[in-house]
């Protein structure tokens, strides 16, 4: 009999709980709040059966577009044929984690604002653009000695000493 293509097919490992982390899930997942526009990661928690997203969305990141009593509406990109559709799904909070994808950007924004304010106070003009890593600078090699290596003529007697 063939395997079948049900909604949770091929999810034996991805939906299973990690080793020694079974049972009740820690309370912080329930205490987090999500606002519309936040970025979240969708990661299915196999211990909670309600409000599970389809296995396609496991590991995707999207934005919050709706907040209801126990679930979050997430907008995720999905490639269908030759185009990418913005799909809106509702997921219970147990299957959602706050995403850190914008964390670096937010920190950089705050730091840049601070740098610009300081420069404005001093009257300087600064650029806060990120620069790509350039080529490494040149350096002098220290403590180098010259050693000339030349090939030595093949010596039959020496090489046979093992098996002769």
């Amino acid at each position: 009999m063939p395997a079948g293509h049900g909604v949770r097919s091929r999810t034996r490992d991805s939906f299973s709980r990690p080793f020694r982390k079974k049972g009740y899930i820690p309370l912080s997942t329930y205490l987090r709040t999500y606002k519309i526009g936040d970025y979240v990661d969708v990661k299915v928690n196999g211990a909670v059966h309600k409000g599970m997203p389809h296995k396609f969305y496991h590991g995707r990141t999207g934005r919050v577009w709706n907040v209801t009593k126990r679930a979050i509406g997430v907008e995720v990109n999905k490639q269908v044929g030759n185009r990418i559709i913005r799909k809106r799904i509702h997921v219970r909070v147990e299957h959602v984690q706050p995403s850190r994808c914008t964390e670096e950007f937010k920190l950089r924004k705050v730091k840049n604002d601070q740098l610009k304010a300081e420069a404005k106070a001093k009257g300087e003009v600064i650029s806060t653009k990120r620069q790509p890593e350039g080529p490494k600078p040149g350096f002098m090699v220290e403590g180098a000695t010259l050693e000339t290596v030349t090939p030595i003529p093949y010596d039959v007697v020496n090489d046979l000493k093992g098996g002769y």
Partner: protein, 299 residues
């Protein structure tokens, strides 16, 4: 020695999943906790308050707690060891004392939030089921009863504390099924029996029985009551005075003790690497000296 098959092998320990710390200690029921602290997501950061009642052997703790990721924060708390301040000296863990503690916490919270004039609650405790009516200006303070690990039986003291908080004016969803005096046959709460329990009537009747039948046991069992001059007849009026005193001044009093400058240690301090090595050297010296003495004796 007989061959004993090891019950807990290394494999057993490798696969063992340790329960949560408070579950190991047997103090928290996580199934109930998840359902009590889970707040609707479309209410964002609005706190969800729990009315926590816990009993120890000699004390009653009543707290209003809200949960956050960093830890639970206590909004207000009341203990039965505060009741001597209001005139109750003996019997600090009975049903009536639980009622007083719940009442004290309720009035304290309402005073803290400046709602105590609006919501007087049930001033005269009758034992009937009382629920707060919302006024026009503000909705009543809502909390959910958190019992902990207690078995819910009719007449349990936690429900005495619940009744105290309800009469103080808090909005706690409840049913009268578990109050003292609810009869399963009639499916009705007998308000007179509940009233008796709130004012310590059950304690008073036991005192009367003992005084008549076993005076020596009465002397030993109720020694504190006798010392403070509490008798079976003046128990009800005593509790009435305590209720009035609580309603008059429920504010918490800060203790005059200064916080200790150096904290008390409850466990041994960990030794440093050098200290541990020094101890080892001492032990080896001692062993060598003792071993040397033995071998000298043998020779």
């Amino acid at each position: 020695m007989a061959f004993v098959k090891a019950q807990k092998t290394k494999a057993y320990f490798k696969r063992f999943q340790v329960p949560f710390k408070r579950r190991r200690e047997g103090k928290t029921d996580y199934r109930a906790r998840i359902r009590l602290t889970n707040q609707d997501k479309n209410k964002y950061n609005t706190p969800k308050y729990r009315f926590v009642v816990r009993f120890s052997n000699k004390d009653i703790t009543a707290q209003i707690v809200s949960a956050t990721i960093t830890g639970d924060t206590v909004l207000a708390s009341a203990y039965s060891h505060e009741l001597p301040r209001y005139g109750l000296e003996a019997g600090l863990t009975n049903y009536a004392a639980a009622y007083c503690t719940g009442l004290l916490l309720g009035r304290r919270v309402l005073k803290m939030l400046e709602m105590d004039d609006e919501y007087q609650g049930n001033v005269e405790a009758t034992g009937e089921d009382f629920s707060v009516e919302p006024t026009d200006t503000r909705r009543p303070f809502r909390a959910l009863l958190d019992i902990g690990l207690i078995r819910t039986t009719t007449g349990n003291r936690v429900f005495g504390a619940l009744k105290g908080a309800l009469d103080a004016g808090l909005d706690i969803p409840h049913s009268d099924k578990r109050f003292a005096g609810f009869s399963k046959d009639n499916k009705q709460l007998d308000a007179d029996v509940h009233h008796k329990y709130i004012y310590g009537g059950h304690v008073a009747s036991y005192m009367r029985i003992l005084m008549e039948d076993e005076p020596e046991k009465y002397q030993s069992h109720f020694s504190e009551y006798i010392k403070k001059g509490i008798e079976a007849d003046n128990i009800e009026s005593l509790y009435k005075k305590v209720h009035a005193a609580i309603r008059a001044d429920p504010a918490a009093k800060k203790s005059e003790k200064a916080p200790p400058t150096q904290h008390k240690r409850f466990n041994l301090k960990k030794l440093t690497y050098e200290e541990r090595k020094a101890k080892l050297i001492e032990r080896l010296h001692a062993l060598n000296a003792a071993g040397g003495a033995d071998s000298e004796d043998e020779d």
